[in-house]
């Protein structure tokens, strides 16, 4: 059985092009909207045009009379369906009941009021247009600070103070630190509402089979298993008879880390009619009803000594929750509190979060979820402090970084940072961009009357969610590795990637561990009937948690394969070597291939003692801690004083995300994150008027970053592996979003600092900048 072993190229760490791409570039991938079933019906949803109104009556008769309309359901019909689930909890949290269709009152523009079912999507739309509601509009409130003011309209009449919760956290003794500090600076900082805008809107197809009591739901989600559990609960079905399929999912960014009213609503309709039914969200509906992100007003106070030593940070965070809690709404701002110290070693913090109801669509996890706001807060305050102390912002950061020998580093908020060398990463960034040279160039530009700015952000983030006690629905992930008799390998991951590329990176990991060609590996996900229970994709967790679960499942496969190999080679299972797809007895040099082992494991006529046939392993793995990627982003910008327009001259990103499985995917995640972060800094804003209307409710008014608006992003990495998981990976899904925003604002504030500008709220529109320049000259 001696064979020549060809060394297979190790794939982890290589720029392997994606295995999911062929279907995507040929237009053959299947998204929810592409699902076709026999006798498929179509749903259109009639929604509230008002921010707040009582419903006097609903007349559906004209809609029902329209030929082709099959049914219309309103709030009274769905009372048997469970309400929308919020999995987060906080002491004293007020949870309004969020029915899947409005009852006698609507709470935000877009609130679902009725659903029309027709045989044709065009007729369904016509039907929805024929629904007549007698509205009694009431005063809406959309600004969270106005909502807290005395006499504000009550979003939920039962809670006139509009306060959903107040959450306090302290670490150290901020008051004492501030009292002893030589400098105390305060700043109000806004992290405005953002609209996630995945390019694929949401969509649901539900197919009830009464005879089997089974419901199959295709939904564009990041969390198919959680969606299944929740849906089964809402609809009173057996969980094992509900199948949720997340087919190709066209982007999520947190907005699909949720279970929305429409999923249960389509299930309900399909069960009522005993027909499959499809609902595809329009872009307008996406703007109005899919969660928004951010929505903070932060009052920050930093205490420091004149030598630049930061002593503490105080935060009052007013979170615009919207009208309801979606899955994680109230938990998001608590993440901002956890990350408020950033990368710095000060020991004293004091934070209060006030969760405020407003007549707006709920906020929830949007790329970064709480951490971008925290990073923006601390990174802005550090720059404000640097300006006050007339210190170089880089120098101030070096002075306060947790040191490389301090890890694991316990922060003022009680987190334990896993690993890092913050100064080394900033060193690389400063050197690559020639920071000293830039400062000279800036001095020259200023002498010429030009506004050039250099903005630094040294961000840190908490990701790879996470230990279960820290997450509302379990912080583990699962993986199954199934080796077929032919030796082909199927990996099933509980993560539900939707663009992140785990069909490739997980195949790289499996190929290396098992020594099989990558083409022999198939990675499956997103179907609860195929994949064992999993948690899903969010919080930059796929590689560090899902990949780790896969790693351990692969170890189980290896162990069992070695047992079979040893038996086949008549060797000792403890000493055989499994490498490059061969199990070799080092004593004899004899080997069997992995494929031969797989065949033997299924044929079953030689079973190692204590083993059993088959070659399948499943692992559920939970990290002991989050992972903490970090980095230094530097932006060079210039402002046109005549128009206020900002031009990004250079963008340098140096990130430390631990070990890298596929640099190509990492670059892609980083660039995308940066685009969303710059989007927030410069253009994006979900604006509600005082009347509750979402006035940036289409791409006409909500500025999405376009190719011509984006700078070229230069990037590099330092690598400090995470000790928390066996891959040493941290996470990159959100890093770019978190690092970019404060770098951009710091850059523009730096550009305008000769005018005495200390802070600019986002988005930094041309007009806002022009007014700053104009006002300072006037």
């Amino acid at each position: 059985m001696a064979t020549t072993v060809t060394k297979l190229e190790k794939l982890v760490g290589k720029r392997v092009r994606r295995r999911e791409d062929p279907r995507l570039i040929t237009g053959t991938a299947m998204y929810v909207e592409d699902v076709k079933l026999p006798d498929l019906h179509h749903a259109a949803i009639f929604r509230s045009p008002h921010g707040a109104a009582n419903i006097r009556s609903i007349d559906v008769s004209k809609a029902l009379a329209l030929p082709g309309v099959v049914a219309v359901y309103t709030g009274k019909d769905i009372l048997g369906v469970g309400s929308v689930v919020c999995a987060a909890d906080l002491p004293g949290l007020r949870k309004p009941v969020h029915h899947i269709l409005a009852q006698d009152r609507v709470y935000f523009v877009g609130h679902a009021v009725a659903v029309v079912i027709a045989k044709d999507r065009y007729i369904a739309a016509d039907g929805a247009d024929l629904i007549e509601v007698d509205w009694a509009p009431t005063q809406a409130v959309t600004d969270p600070e106005k909502a807290l003011a005395a006499g504000a309209p009550a979003v939920h009449p039962e809670w006139p103070d509009n306060t959903a919760f107040v959450f306090d956290q302290k670490g150290g003794d901020y008051a004492a630190a501030a009292a002893s500090a030589e400098v105390v600076l305060r700043q109000r900082i806004i992290s405005q509402r953002l609209v996630p805008n995945a390019m694929e809107t949401r969509g649901v197809v539900a197919d009830w089979k009464a005879a089997d009591r089974s419901l199959t739901v295709w939904t564009s989600t990041q969390i198919p298993h959680l969606a299944r559990s929740i849906l089964a609960g809402q609809l009173g079905l057996d969980e094992n008879r509900v199948r949720v399929i997340a087919p190709e999912v066209g982007g999520g960014f947190g907005s699909k880390l949720n279970v929305y009213p429409e999923e249960a609503l389509m299930g309900f309709v399909s069960m009522k009619l005993n027909k499959p039914v499809k609902w595809i969200e329009s872009r307008r509906e996406n703007f109005q009803t899919t969660i928004h992100g951010r929505g903070h007003v932060d009052y920050l106070e930093i205490a420091a000594n004149r030598d630049g030593t930061i002593l503490g940070l105080k935060l009052k965070l007013i979170q615009d929750l919207g009208a309801y809690h979606q899955l994680l709404t109230p938990a998001i701002p608590t993440l901002s509190v956890l990350m408020m110290p950033g990368l710095y070693k000060f020991r004293n913090i004091e934070a209060q979060v006030i969760g405020v109801f407003t007549n707006a669509v709920p906020t929830d996890a949007y790329r970064g979820a709480g951490r971008p706001e925290a990073t923006h807060g601390i990174e802005r305050m550090v720059d404000i402090l640097a300006a006050e102390l007339k210190m170089d912002p880089a120098e101030l950061r070096y002075k306060n970084f947790a040191g490389k020998d301090d890890f694991p580093f316990l922060t003022a908020t009680g987190l334990t940072y896993d690993s890092g060398d913050y100064a080394a990463t900033l060193d690389v960034a400063l050197e690559k961009i020639d920071y000293k040279g830039l400062r000279k160039e800036q001095a020259k530009a200023r002498a010429e009357g030009r506004y050039m700015g250099i903005g630094i952000s040294t961000y840190g983030e908490l990701c790879a969610f996470g230990p279960s006690p820290a997450t509302p629905a379990g912080g583990w992930e699962s993986a199954t590795v199934k080796v077929e008799p032919s030796g082909k390998v199927t990996v099933m991951t509980g993560c539900s990637p939707h663009g992140q590329g785990q069909e490739t990176s997980f195949a790289q990991i499996a190929a290396d561990e098992l020594g099989v060609p990558i083409d022999d590996i198939l990675v499956l996900h997103g179907d609860t009937a195929i994949v064992q229970y999993g948690i899903g994709t969010f919080g930059s967790r796929n590689t560090a948690v899902g990949g780790a679960a896969l790693h351990y499942a692969l170890q189980d496969i290896r162990d069992k394969a070695k047992k079979f190999g040893a038996k086949m080679l008549d060797a000792d299972a403890e000493t055989v070597i499994l490498e490059d797809g061969h199990c070799t007895d080092p004593k004899t040099g004899n080997s069997v291939t992995f494929q031969q082992i797989a065949a033997a494991a299924y044929r079953g006529n030689i079973i190692p003692t204590g083993s059993e046939p088959g070659l399948v392993a499943t692992r559920f793995w939970e990290p002991s801690n989050f992972a903490y990627p970090y980095g230094a982003h530097i932006i060079v910008s210039e402002v046109d004083p005549e128009t206020g327009q900002i031009t990004i001259k250079r963008y340098m990103a140096v990130d430390d995300i631990g070990n890298i499985i596929n640099p190509l995917l990492v670059d892609g995640q980083l660039h995308g994150g940066v685009a969303q972060g710059l989007g927030q800094a410069l253009w994006e804003h979900g604006v509600y008027d005082d009347n509750g209307q979402l006035v940036t409710g289409e791409f006409m008014d909500y500025t999405m970053p376009r190719a011509r608006m984006m700078p070229w992003v230069e990037s590099a990495h330092t690598i400090t592996p995470s000790p928390v998981n066996p891959l040493g990976a941290k996470g990159v899904g959100e890093a770019g979003t978190i690092g970019s925003t404060p770098a951009m604002v710091n850059s523009v504030v730096d550009a305008l600092s000769p005018l005495g500008v200390r802070h600019i709220d986002m988005p930094m529109t041309s007009e806002k900048i022009w007014k700053l320049i104009h006002g300072s000259k006037a």
Partner: protein, 154 residues
Amino acid sequence: MKVAGTAQLPFPPERAYDLMQDPAALQKAIPGCNSLERTGDDEYKLSLKMVLASLSGQFEGKVLLTDHNRPYSFKMLVEGSGKIGFVKGEGVLSLMLLDGGTEVAYEGEAQIGGSIASVGQRLIDTTSKLLVKRFFKKLAKIGSGETDAAEDEA
């Protein structure tokens, strides 16, 4: 949204004031108004079809005239809703004798909601100005006795 501006009418404030309280005149002057029916003291039911370029929509609503201070000022409240959205406006109109005619200064708040609010941000200001302009232009014609003036170009 704030709505404010001035308009000139070629007749004295008394005449201007009375015209603006006269349902028949208002019906003719309000762009696209099909009917304006008195439903109570100072209260009128309004039906209009707004047509502007390709945009069109039927609105039903009411007009309320209050705080009468002839011929100096009054308050007007207009509410209308239709499939494409709804509008609610409230404002004070002040009349002043100017060169034998009247200068009407209006100042108020308008709320716009529904479909038109979520796509038409860039157009709301210009179109509302246009509609106000049309209204006073027509009113000027009516007040000057040019009642046969061409129907509103809408």
